[in-house]
Each structure stands twice: as C-alpha cells, then as structure tokens.
C-alpha cells in the first residue's frame, strides 16, 4: 500500500509517478530509437497521427507548425464526437520538446508538457515525459479520467464502485 500520492509502477515498460508535493505527472519509457527519431515521431504530423490517439479514434490535424514558437491544434474523433486539443511548440530541439497543451473542453486549463530524450547509446533512448498543471485538483482529475476519451471497458467495475458511492 502506498502512503503518499507517489506511485511508481513498473513492468519493464512505462513507469509513472504522481508526486505528492507537485501537481505533476511524470512518465518514463525506453524506446528502440534515437532521440532524433523520437523527436520526429512527435513533430512530423503524418507520423504523429499514427500513434497518438486512443485505439479506435481518428486524429485530424488542424494546424501544425513544429518549430520553436509555433503552434498546433488537432481533433480527436471518437464515435463521431470531436475533441479539440491545442497548444504551442515552446521548444523544439533534438533532445527536448516543450509544448503547452489545452483540451478545448476546459479552455482555461493548460499544462506544460516537457519531453526529454536521453540517448542510451545502443540505439535506445529513454524518454521522460513530464506534465505540469496549475493545481493538484487538475492533475488528479487528469489521472482519474485518463484524460483520453474511449475508456477501457475493463475498468468499468472501478467506475461502478465510484458511482455507487462505495468510496
């Protein structure tokens, strides 16, 4: 059992941490790729749409200017429903991407997304992804909702527990 809101789970893949003292979500994962390839997968629109959305969704790029100071906007289409996301490319560099991120359903909410890429030297790269929001409530709402649309049915039971007021 955890006694703080910091939880690190590891199964050899993505690790996650939600520290108790900062409204931050940190994730870490290794990829069989170079930092340059990872930057490209995040900044080349045609590559980006192939992996970012949840399964069964379609990602439509509306605006995409992947350079320092540029901006972006895309729509996530799930079962005919469109969800808009937008932000700026604050820093685009070979070892680092910094972007702002807003879900248009909550237009006043903005998170700062920092991706850093550590070259592990054998064709592998460790990516650290940090999302910083302005309030703990926002961070926790993001964690609770998964932020992504198209929830996994496997967790319906958990949702039911919450709905039933059992917790």
């Amino acid at each position: 059992m955890t006694t703080t809101t910091t939880t690190t789970t590891k199964d050899g893949t993505t690790t996650i941490e939600a520290p108790a003292d900062l409204p931050v979500i940190r994730m870490s994962r290794e990829f069989r790729a170079t930092p340059a390839q990872l930057v490209r997968a995040h900044t080349d629109a045609d590559l980006f749409v192939r992996w970012v959305g949840p399964d069964g969704s379609e990602v439509r790029i509306d605006q995409w200017d992947p350079r320092t100071g540029g901006s972006w906007r895309y729509l996530n289409v799930v079962k005919g429903e469109e969800y808009g996301f937008r932000g700026c490319f604050h820093t685009v560099r070979e070892d680092r991407l910094v972007q702002t991120f807003t879900w248009e359903g909550m237009p006043d909410g903005v998170s700062l997304e920092t991706l850093s890429f550590e070259d592990l030297g054998d064709g592998r790269t460790r990516m650290l992804a940090e999302s910083l929001v302005d309030r703990f409530e926002t961070r926790d709402a993001i964690l609770a909702s998964g932020m992504e649309v198209g929830l996994n049915d496997g967790y319906a039971r958990l949702d039911g527990l919450l709905d039933d007021g059992e917790v």
Binding site: M1, T2, T3, T4, T5, T7, T9, T13, T14, T15, I16, A18, A20, D21, I25, M27, R29, F31, R32, A33, T34, A36, Q37, L38, R40, A41, D44, D46, L47, R50, W51, V52, P54, D55, F136, E137, R139, D140, A141, I142, L143, A144, G146, M147, E148, N152, Y155, L158, L161, L162, V167
Partner: protein, 121 residues
Amino acid sequence: MPDPLSQAFAALADPTRRDIVARLCAGDATVGELAAPYDVSLQAVSKHLKVLEGAGLVSRGRDAQRRPVHLEAEVFDLMTKWIERYRREAEARYQRLDAVLAQLDEHTTDPHEPTERGETA
C-alpha cells in the same frame, strides 16, 4: 463537487496528514496518540483528521471514549488503480509509437529505400 479521487489526493497534499496516514498503517490510534509527536494542539490534529475522514481515507471507531482512528486501505488501492489505468493508457500509446519507430528504423537501415515523404529523420 470534487470527485472522490480528487478529495483523496487533495487530503494527502498536506505533509502532516500524510504522516498521520503513514502512522495509521501500523494500526488504529486515538487522536491523543496521533497528536503526541507533533508540536500542535489536539484541535489541529482533529482538523486534519476531519479532512482525511471527509475524503474517506480514515474512519472513527464507535467507542465514545477513545474513538480510535482507522485507515481505510481500500481507498489507497483505488488510487493506485486509477494511476495504473492512466499508465496503461500511456503504455498502449507508446506501443503504437514503437510500431511507428520500427518502420522508421527499417527505412533508415536501408539507404536505397526512400522514406515515406522524402524527409530526413
């Protein structure tokens, strides 16, 4: 109205409350026992306990005299599950990224094969 998970996280954003929770892991305790190590009043500790209780993290026993504080472990399990769910969604996304990167790799290992859009990696 904040959802239960947000309440639980918010309640644990305070270091004293986190410490109280950590000590309750060892077993139930009275308010007096919980207050003993701190340089604060019983009232202040009671206030912290009210927040934890409101978030469903602890409950108070029925014994009118002692009213021992009890940790509700299930809530922590739930928080861990929510975070794990978020992590799995990220992992699924990164597995799709793996597949895209693997295709980039094939292109870069064969210099004769043009990249999809003639761009450099």
